[in-house]
Amino acid sequence: MSHPAIVVDNVTVHYGDVLALDGASLSLDHSRICGLVGMNGSGKSTLFKTIMGMVKPDSGRVLINGHAPVKSRKEAGIGYVPQSEDVDWAFPLSVRDVVMMGRYGQLGFTRRPRKADRDAVGQALERVELSDFADRQIGQLSGGQKKRAFVARGIAQGATMMLLDEPFAGVDKRSEATITRLLRELAADGATILVSTHDLHALPQLCDEAVLLMRRVLMHGSPDMVLRPENLAMAFGLDVMNRD
């Protein structure tokens, strides 16, 4: 455990002519929750995709537990909670089906679940308080329940790292509190958690540390420091003070 959980080292990513990340660097320790703050187009989703290896950086590298991520990514178990807009909520799968997908990496050729997998899924659903909704179609959940379903997938996966993309968008206050408590528990168990969010109010209760992103990391420190108006102004432009 001597290595940081996630190291992003001077990563640059282009999509065609568009510069998405410009020399972003970041180091995250185990058992920490880090908030990722930045406006639309600041590269939050790209940073996630680079950590997961979906996007190959033009330059720079990502290390998971001190190793190149090809093999270490699967070993570490990276759970991913996608943005709502990235999910096809009409897809004909039940909540249980989606959570079971967390187990696929550990299953055989045809991914037929064994009893241990069904038990793990049942426990994960219980932990996020969705046991009663297990057989609902995934789109028939409330905003907060949908997020919890994906967190449960990460739990069933045994993920030691969780990446959450805007988990509080379209989520009521109660669900937000439930998710916050859940993530704190997971971090206490040793998970490293990276959360991108627009919701700056949620940051201090949820996060141990925060990162200001504007294609590169402008600042990495305590949530209070990052949330100072003069620092936010740097990431969001000057109109931030008049927002909300």
Partner: protein, 290 residues
Amino acid sequence: MDILNFLLEPLSYDFMVRALATTAIAAVVCAVLSCWLVLIGWSLMGDAVSHAVLPGVVLAYIVGAPFALGALVFALIAVTMIGVVRNTSRVKEDAAIGIVFTSLFALGLVLISVTPSQTDLNHIIFGNLLGVSIPDLIQVVVLGVVAFAILIFKRRDLTLYAFDPTHAHAIGLSPKRLGALLLGLLALTSVVALQTVGVVLVVAMLIIPGATAYLLTDRFSRMLVIAPVISVVCSMAGIYLSYYLDTASGAMVVVTQGAVFAVVYLFSPRQGLIGTRMARARRKRALATA
């Protein structure tokens, strides 16, 4: 004429038995594949690949290679070309698909027109259900069983790929490889269905059953049962109808599938235009009497 006679009479002809067997196999494989195609949003891709295999099939015929091999090669060429045009020019994907598949399809037609044995090859375009030979049937059985087995064994991975490729990647699967597998199976399945309805109408069998099943259930595992059942029933009905009405058999199969889709679209209790209203009214009545 009683119903038994109605069903048995066509079976006294060997060519009808072969037609029904070929169609049943094609209907099942296409329907299973269609479940993923409609959910990923690859219907247009299905259209493209099923057309673009034509020159491959014709070239395979000319050199005496298996049709499936030629089809796979040209499916690969088509998908690569679509990707290249989309990624390296300002032309959008739907236009790229339209350009590539029509050009390849036209190339196939040109090749047919300069290849001596024209009668055989024209059957590829519109299907030749009533002229299925024993070797044709064997080829359909082999390819159909292979495609079906791969789809069923890999169904969970393919569903994960369709639903959330990012997660697939995060747990160490390759979304690229799964996508390629699905496209390869699409090419293989196109060859299976060529015999039945021909290149032009294959896409119907690759889309309609999955779309119909999608309107009837919220469970993917059930879609995988409902789609082939609907597809086989429609196909058999289509062939019997074509036998008694003396119409084009491949086209009749597609018309039947389209008609069943229309009925489901209107009356499905979950998603149907009229069906959901009827279900609501029933619930209201039940409440009123309670």
